[in-house]
Amino acid sequence: MQPDSLTFIFLNAFIINNFVLAMFLGLCPFLGVSGKLKTAWNMGLAVIFVMLVSSTCAYLINGLLVRFELEFLRLICYIAVIASAVQLVEMTIKKFSPTLFKALGIYLPLITTNCAILGLALFQTNREYNFLQCLAFSIGAGAGFTLALVLMAGLREKLNLADVPSASSGAALSLTLAGLLSLAFMGFAGLGG
């Protein structure tokens, strides 16, 4: 596969360099919202949507900033774009599904400070992707985030029934689990070589 082909960019963000398990982006929601399978799935969908919107906006804004040589404002502009995209998603979800809105709770506005989203915008700028590549990258990254979140939620639902020493329950156990998942994902490293 060509390194800049759309398929490769998608697969790379989806499993090879998974945002959560290989690049450590977006760990707060990964540990915070992975308690229940249903919530995790919905959170993943919300993140995919925010990623698509903010990646598109970031691409357009970066074009403008480069044109007027204002690159030092990049970070501030990206953050503003992401915050507005999150606000949009929040209003949509609140309107269409109040139950989902309640289930996601504080983690919905916190998507703003999800480093996966800002990371996505920064990486696509650093790697100088064109518009289609940006789209493939953002869908891949969002899908990868959802995959990691759903896998983790499924494992943790089972783990709730396990009998473990009290000191190792909670965060320590979740992180060990994430480590094992990450180890498994390293197996994809040779893919598409």
């Binding site: 398990l21 290989a22 690049m23 450590f24 982006l25 977006g26 760990l27 707060c28 540990l31 030092f72 970070l75 501030i76 953050i79 503003a80 915050a83 916190l110 703003t112 400070t113 999800n114 480093c115 800002l118 990371g119 920064l122 990486f123 650093n126 009290s166 000191a167 190792s168 909670g170 965060a171 320590a172 156990l173 992180l175 060990t176 994430a178 480590g179 094992l180 990450s182 180890l183 390293m186």
Partner: protein, 219 residues
Amino acid sequence: MVKDPRIPESLSWDTFLRGLWKENPVFVMLLGLCPVLAVTNTAINALAMGVATTFVLICSGILVSSLRFLIPKQVRIASYIIIIATFVTIADYAIQAISLDLYKALGAFIQLIVVNCIILGRAEVYASKNNIVNASVNALGMGVGFTFALLCLGVVREILGNGSLFGFDLFGPGFQPWGIFALPPGGFFVLAFWLFLFSAVQNRRQKVQHQKETLENAT
């Protein structure tokens, strides 16, 4: 607990020490985990990241605290983010000028300091309610606590994964590095280990306390 913003907390050692131990951002509050795991493959990266974050923490703390009567409540989060983003941009360019190698090693994670929840959390919970001196002391404490946590991981991962510390070879050529610890899964495992250690110590302390109390009650 919501405090009246006009009555600042009095300055004490506790303002500083809280961030180091009792409210350690990483080990106790589990905030800002992304950089903790991502840049701690060597101790020097961990230290650089800690210093950069501390710089942003202190500067944004001072600015947020001095503007606390001017920023309207409704737009405060947006204002804090803009303030933080400004200082992160400064730190980003400064590191680029000081050491290009370090800049490349840390990658996008310097710019991602913007979305580190510790900084926004401090601005919202502490700096916006206290005077400038308190805010900067508290930010310094948090920054040192964060750097301490980063070093805890960085040192273990560098020794096990590379057999060196701050770039110096420790064990000589016969050492077989345990490569997995320099890779992503190692980060998860080492952090899990530290958290386990912390909660084990905490549990033990509580147990001793409990035994003492029951003994006192019995006599």
